[in-house]
């Protein structure tokens, strides 16, 4: 018994220090008042957990009554198949008689609307996949997992740091990472070889390679699927901040440099908007461009017919920064027995074994460092260029801050404004001013 308490305490302290550590590492925002507050809060919270766990001291034998857990997700096709397979495995092998029921709620858009409606009707499911910015209006209905992570989780530090940051940005652990992806660069290797050039590593490379391609083929060379994500990543690559709860943070010289880099790519015809083609995977497949930055899960939509697909980390500048997308697992059930049951399932989905199966089967990324190092995943990576590129940039992973009210608006406003600025071939300084103004107007 004593041993157990000590162990629990130890994990709690570790979790607390890890959390505090992360919060500081949300680098560009670290010196703003808001994030400092968050840091303090997290630490306090974690300390509270410590006290709490001490009081309730985990019982010797955990008992969970047999129950059914409803899990809303937005996965389809192959992804849904693998999720079903993992869930079946859990349902048949868990010792408590827990049955997880998967409920497919359509696309992310459908899922988020449905969660919002369910929150309003007080009918949230036991568990769901969710992005942080969906949760702002009903974060109070999300179960605080800090306690669970502290007392009953296998090596939380093994979870990739960027994901841990994301899952605690509301000031407590509200989620566990699940279907994570990152933006990588997909390119036509055959054409690049013809040009006698190497894959781009820096901003300058993008420009010089792009110029060579445009000169020879006439088409714009580059594209990005998610403009807002690209702007944020580029700012971070230049050591700049993006947006926090107070507004835009990049009305600086470094911000201007970044906008100059971006706007020059477009204004000089090296990059183009996706427009009518909807996804660049279509354009690349039709060999009408050299390469694009898009989600690592998009690989399955690229058909390399008569050319070879290359994948590399996103080109960077002063620092490297790679945007991470994908949802997390959140818990809503208020029933304490169901919480324990749902936690068992969440632990399973984020276990090294399951995350590897998941990643190999779907093209999403493992959520644990140890999973990357596992023999099975290493073997998979050897044959999968996308996974290799994603792994190469895993030290530079970051997620966009989403725990402020206007985060959803900022995302769409930046994408629409950037499109407008690019269509109008705006000068970098004007573009910077307009973008900053647009972002601040969302608050």
């Amino acid at each position: 018994m004593k041993k157990k308490i000590v162990a629990t305490l130890l994990t709690a302290v570790m979790a607390a220090s890890a959390l505090a550590g992360c919060a500081q590492k949300v680098d560009p925002n670290a010196d703003t008042a808001a994030s400092k507050e968050a840091t303090e809060e997290t630490t306090q919270d974690a300390t509270k957990e410590e006290a709490k766990t001490d009081e309730t001291a985990a019982p010797e034998e955990k008992t969970i009554e047999s129950c059914e857990i409803e899990f809303w997700h937005g996965m389809s096709n192959k992804q849904e198949e693998v999720l079903t397979q993992l869930t079946d495995e859990f349902n048949s092998s868990n010792e408590y008689g827990i049955t997880v029921t998967l409920v497919n709620q359509g696309s992310y858009g459908d899922l988020s609307q449905k969660l919002q409606a369910a929150a309003a009707a007080d009918g949230l499911p036991d568990m769901a996949q969710a992005y942080n910015n969906w949760l702002n209006p009903y974060i109070d209905k999300v179960v605080d997992l800090s306690d669970f992570v502290a007392t009953d989780f296998d090596n939380y530090d093994d979870i990739i740091e960027a994901y841990r940051n994301e899952c605690s940005e509301f000031g407590f652990v509200h989620a566990l990472p699940f279907n994570k992806s990152t933006y990588v660069m997909f390119y036509n290797k055959t054409v690049l070889d013809e040009l006698g050039l190497e894959a781009p590593k820096t901003w300058e490379d993008l420009t010089t390679i792009g110029e060579a391609y445009v000169e020879k083929y006439g088409n714009a060379a580059w594209g990005v699927d998610d403009l807002a994500g690209f702007v944020e990543a580029s700012l971070r690559q230049n050591g700049e901040g993006y947006v926090d709860a107070t507004g835009a943070l990049f009305n600086t010289d470094g911000g201007l440099e970044t906008m100059t880099y971006i706007m020059d790519l477009y204004n000089n015809g090296l990059a183009r908007l996706v427009g009518e083609d909807k996804y660049f995977s279509n354009v690349l497949s039709a060999q009408a461009m050299l390469g694009y930055i898009g989600s690592s899960t998009g690989a399955s939509y690229i058909t390399a017919d008569g050319w070879e697909l290359g994948v590399c980390p996103v080109p960077s500048n002063k620092e490297s920064a790679a945007y991470c997308a994908g949802t997390n697992l959140v818990m809503f059930t208020q029933d304490s027995n169901k919480q324990l049951a749902a936690w068992e399932y969440m632990k399973w989905l984020t276990s090294a074994e399951a995350t590897v199966t998941w990643a190999v089967g779907t093209g999403y990324l493992p959520v644990r460092t140890s999973a990357y190092e596992s023999a099975e995943y290493q073997e998979f990576m050897a044959s999968d260029v996308t996974a290799t590129a994603a792994y190469e940039q895993s030290d530079a992973f970051f997620t966009s801050l989403a725990s402020y009210d206007a985060s959803n608006d900022v995302r769409t406003a930046v994408a629409a404004k950037m499109e407008e600025l690019i269509l109008d071939e705006t000068e970098p300084q004007d573009a910077l001013d307009a973008l900053v103004e647009e972002i601040n107007a969302q608050f």
């Binding site: 389809s76 709620q105 449905k114 009918g123 279509n282 039709a286 898009g294 899960t297 058909t303």
Partner: protein, 287 residues
């Protein structure tokens, strides 16, 4: 006289040319949809485009079909479409009759009020209705009549439509008052008059409303997804979301699934068309 004949012929030719051209424009997107459903994903976005698929991929249909329980969806879609159409016809005929033939206090006010409800976008009402349905859970024995995952939730909110009430009222108003008065003289009750005279006289309008409602119920998408969690309660149009993700879409499969979605209704329409025309000729007899 001769010149009018010639000009009539010219006009006829002109008429058919316009009609045929218009028909081609109208049909083109459908033809394109069917042809695309048989292409490979790379052929769909190929430049220059191919009109006919090089090598028809019938397996697209097989794959689309296997992605979701379409058969079950189909059955549900039919149940919901038939149920809501039946309900709509009853409430619409009753209301249209009241508005066109009966005199009651507050008639003008309630009519304007109903018309006003058309002017607010449905997107605004959805969440409130979701909350209503969520709280209306009603089970008789093992069967759920109302609430999430019930046919009631899929059907009942849609069994009255101001849109159709207004349309049918317009038709009913056209029936000359003389017929109504004559019936009154014959001691025909309002109820009997409605079923025996009004309805048959406006058969075509009623069938038209039935078809319009059937189709919109068939294609309804957002509401069925919202009020169901159980895949066994979903409908065909929900199957379309299986082929899109944030990183790309399987267009050929979306097109195949769309064809699966549209075909039954076209067949039903073709079948019912004969009935409509028959209804028209019969109602033409009244003179």
């Amino acid at each position: 006289m001769k010149s009018t004949k010639v000009s009539n012929l010219v006009l006829d030719i002109l008429k058919f040319t316009i009609l045929i051209l218009g028909a081609i424009i109208t049909m083109m997107p459908f033809v394109w949809m069917i042809l695309s459903s048989l292409k490979t994903s790379s052929e769909i976005t190929a430049i220059p485009p191919t009109f006919f698929p090089k090598d028809p991929q019938w397996s697209n249909y097989q794959e689309a079909w296997s992605r979701a329980p379409f058969l079950r969806y189909f059955v549900n879609t039919v149940i919901v479409a038939v149920g809501s159409t039946f309900g709509v016809l009853i409430t619409t005929v009753l209301s249209a009759f009241a508005f066109s033939r009966l005199n009651f206090p507050g008639k003008k006010l309630i009519f304007s009020l109903l018309m006003a409800t058309l002017m607010i976008p449905g997107e605004m009402l959805v969440i409130t209705n979701y909350i209503t349905v969520y709280n209306m859970k009603l089970e008789i024995g093992e069967t759920r009549i109302m609430g999430i995952d019930s046919y009631g939730a899929l059907i009942i909110p849609w069994i009255a439509s101001v849109f159709y009430i207004y349309l049918l009222t317009q038709f009913f108003m056209q029936v000359p008052d003389a017929i109504y008065l004559a019936a009154k003289v014959d001691k025909c009750s309002d109820w009997k008059f409605m079923w025996k005279i009004m309805l048959p006289m406006n058969k075509q309008a009623v069938v038209t409303i039935g078809i319009l409602n059937f189709i919109s119920s068939w294609n309804a998408f957002m509401w069925p997804l919202l009020v169901t969690n159980d895949p066994n309660m979903r409908v065909l149009s929900n199957g379309l979301t299986q082929f899109q993700s944030e990183a790309g879409s399987d267009y050929q499969l979306i097109m195949a699934a769309s064809c699966i979605l549209v075909m039954p209704i076209i067949i039903i329409y073709l079948f019912l068309r004969k009935y409509i025309i028959e209804g028209v000729t019969r109602s033409g007899l009244k003179g």
